[in-house]
């Protein structure tokens, strides 16, 4: 996995709570057998109108947020289906960071496996980011994972919490399977013990 780098970007405010993975990528796009090429289907039913043209009212289609790498979301983002196609689509579209008050467990986990950083923020600070994302035209949000820091090009300053091990894996781009295979001896011992029980 690629090592996670610092990000500076305009944030895209997605003003819905309980966004489920069926919305992030609808089921008709889960039939591919590859990991890539899902970006064009991200938020498909919200982003595109029935005739296939862009829905100008949807936030991702607004010029101001073009090329954004940070998604602002609300409570319980990524709930529902375990489909990893959801983080694949977000990443392929260009998002590297998602900031919300809370995430669904499986989605949260899936993000880290794909080099996406999900950040949990308190309601008040998130609300502030939603307001300035709309109001300010010069806004640039900067995320420094090494320092656990979110700042902007003005006076926003926030130290976020993150599991130290997950942070290390992102920063170093570690492969989970390699980490596990480093414990092969223990695994073999465990299986021997298991064999004697069953």
């Amino acid at each position: 996995m690629e090592k996670f780098k610092n990000i500076a970007s305009v944030p895209t405010p997605l003003d819905y709570s309980n966004v489920d993975t069926d919305q992030i990528i609808p089921k008709q796009f889960l039939k591919k057998i590859e990991k890539t090429g899902f970006g064009e289907f991200l938020f498909f039913d919200w982003r595109l109108k029935d005739d296939g043209t862009k829905n100008p009212d949807f936030v991702l289609n607004q010029e101001k947020f073009a090329g954004s790498e940070i998604l602002l979301a609300r409570d319980n983002f990524g709930c529902g289906s375990s489909r990893e196609h959801a983080p694949w689509a977000l990443k392929d579209y260009g998002f590297k960071i998602i900031i919300s008050t809370s995430f669904a467990d499986i989605f949260y986990n899936n993000c880290f496996k794909n080099g996406i950083l999900p950040i949990i923020l308190d309601g008040e600070n998130l609300e502030h980011l939603f307001v300035i994302a709309i109001e300010r035209d010069d806004l640039e949000l900067r995320v420094d994972l090494k320092e656990n820091l979110i700042t902007d090009n003005k006076d926003f300053y926030y130290k976020f919490k993150i599991d130290q091990f997950r942070k290390k894996c992102l920063l170093e781009g570690l492969d989970d399977i390699d980490l596990t295979l480093a414990h092969s001896d223990k695994l073999e011992d465990f299986e021997k013990k298991l064999g004697s029980i069953k």
């Binding site: 609808p26 057998i33 496996k113 794909n114």
Partner: protein
């Protein structure tokens, strides 16, 4: 010894490796795979020249894409390729596959239990969020992403942070017509769709103990809809009775030893949970979802909410958005909602007991002229058992379509989909926007409520029928 919960007992005996401030390396006893979330995992194995560590603990079936009519002729080329890819992968890595031609093929969460692959005390994973279903047997069972599917294939382990425990006690004698589906929808309505995030739920209390295994599966199945990592129920005599003659269990040499072990797994008296609530089932009524999230439910005698009465602006907006999508006016009575489609199926409610109960409502009646109604049994074995009971005739005579097994209209990856604006009473688990088809409108209900809706063309209170559903 300190009293332990069921979860703690299972967790503790599956730890392969742990160290401070790190996730725990947990051993996995059973890995179920299907066609949608596995192809990229197998590709990953090939790219790194890795093998499947424990093919004897890995089982596969195709369920999501499978057509329920003419199942061997898949018109959608991309679906056909995904299904063929699963066949090829199982063949290359030597994994047992319940293929479309097998009499035991079906929804992965239906066939695991009915084959006796699912057992108490196990850790069970699958690249599907409804893996929580298997927790009904006193297993720790949870959904994982495709990267983790690859990880389990390669190592038979997973890195896991220990979740918190959440006791949900359901007490009292549930009224007739209130099913396991109504219990779990009531729970989600009460605690919310993120009410159990970061936790493993153990359902307890006399209402839960009185449920059959199939009903317990319905409850555990929808744990994920409350945000839980897993849902589980301590094994008891009902569990052991269900398991004793299952195909993969009945001839085991160490059967007695296993059954003795399984009876020790229940949560100890005095064990403590991180969080506990108690819910009274005596006051429950049959539930109907009105919105686009499984927490948006009310009793059949209730009405669609009015967003004006919601003070929280974020929640108000959610209600407004949901009502707009669902094409419903505030304060509409649930019983005044007219329907176009009825779907009885899915890993939540497609087992024999579900079909028997629904058939009691259907028998001698006709599906309302404006309704398309289908029954999709959870597995080919369920279909066979139901046909032996003559249920197919009851459904067909009433005007239902009687199909082959699969996930079908629960998520519409196969041709069974709603059209834009089509309104469906569904026994499935998710009423998300577009879940059953773009623009489709889903109302989650129990099988007997769905059956009554099919006859009446609108929701009616199943309690107004004088039918003996037995213990259902």
């Amino acid at each position: 010894m300190k009293p332990k919960t069921l979860f703690e007992k299972i967790w503790d005996c599956h730890v392969v490796h742990k160290e401070k401030r790190r996730p725990t390396l947990l051993y996995i006893d059973l890995h179920l795979i299907h066609e949608v979330t596995s192809p990229q995992a197998f590709q990953g194995l090939r790219e790194h020249n890795r093998k499947v560590r424990r093919k004897d603990l890995t089982f596969a079936t195709m369920d999501h894409n499978v057509p329920t009519i003419n199942r061997n002729k898949i018109d959608d080329k991309i679906s056909a390729r995904q299904i063929q890819t699963l066949r090829d992968n199982c063949s290359q890595f030597d994994i047992e596959l319940f293929d479309l031609s097998s009499p035991y093929q079906g929804i992965v969460h239906v066939i695991g239990p009915e084959q006796g692959l699912t057992r108490p005390g196990m850790t069970i994973v699958c690249g599907d969020s409804h893996t929580s279903t298997h927790g009904a047997f006193g297993a720790l069972a949870f959904g994982i992403g495709t990267s983790e599917v690859e990880h389990v294939l390669a190592t038979q382990c997973l890195w896991q942070n220990k979740p918190r425990t959440f006791e949900i006690r359901v007490e009292g004698k549930r009224p007739k017509g209130v099913t396991a589906k109504d219990i779990i929808l009531s729970i989600i309505g009460e605690i919310g769709t993120a009410g159990a995030t970061g936790t493993v739920i153990e359902y307890r209390g006399d209402t839960i103990s009185s449920l059959s295994m199939e009903q317990r599966m319905t409850i555990c199945n929808m744990s994920i809809e409350a945000g839980a990592r897993a849902g589980m129920i301590s094994p008891d005599h009902v569990t052991l009775d269900y398991l004793k003659d299952k195909p993969r269990i009945k001839d085991l040499k160490n059967k007695e030893e296993l059954f003795n072990y399984w009876s020790t797994l229940a949560t100890d008296d005095g064990a403590s949970f991180d969080k506990s609530i108690t819910i009274d089932s005596v006051k429950m009524s049959p539930q109907v979802s009105w919105g686009t999230s499984p927490g948006m439910v009310t009793g059949v005698n209730g009405s669609v909410p009015n967003p004006k009465n919601e003070e929280d602006p974020v929640k108000r907006k959610s209600i407004e958005n949901a009502l707009e999508y669902m094409g419903l006016k505030p304060d509409t009575k649930i019983e005044d909602i007219k329907l176009d489609t009825v779907f009885i199926g899915s890993c939540t409610n497609s087992r024999v007991e579900d079909l028997v109960a629904a058939s009691k409502v259907i028998k001698g009646n006709k599906v309302s002229s404006n309704i398309n109604a289908i029954v999709v049994p959870g597995s080919q074995l369920v279909k066979y058992q139901a046909e032996k009971l003559g249920l197919d005739k009851i459904f067909k005579e009433a005007g239902f379509d009687w199909r082959d097994s699969g996930c079908s209209m629960c998520l519409g990856m196969n041709p069974d989909q709603l059209s834009p604006g089509e309104r469906c009473a569904s026994t499935s688990n998710r009423n998300f926007e577009g879940r059953q088809g773009k623009g489709g409108r889903t109302h989650l209900v129990s099988p007997i409520m769905a059956a009554a809706a099919a006859i009446n063309g609108r929701f009616v209170d199943i309690r107004s029928y004088n039918i003996d559903f037995g213990e259902y």
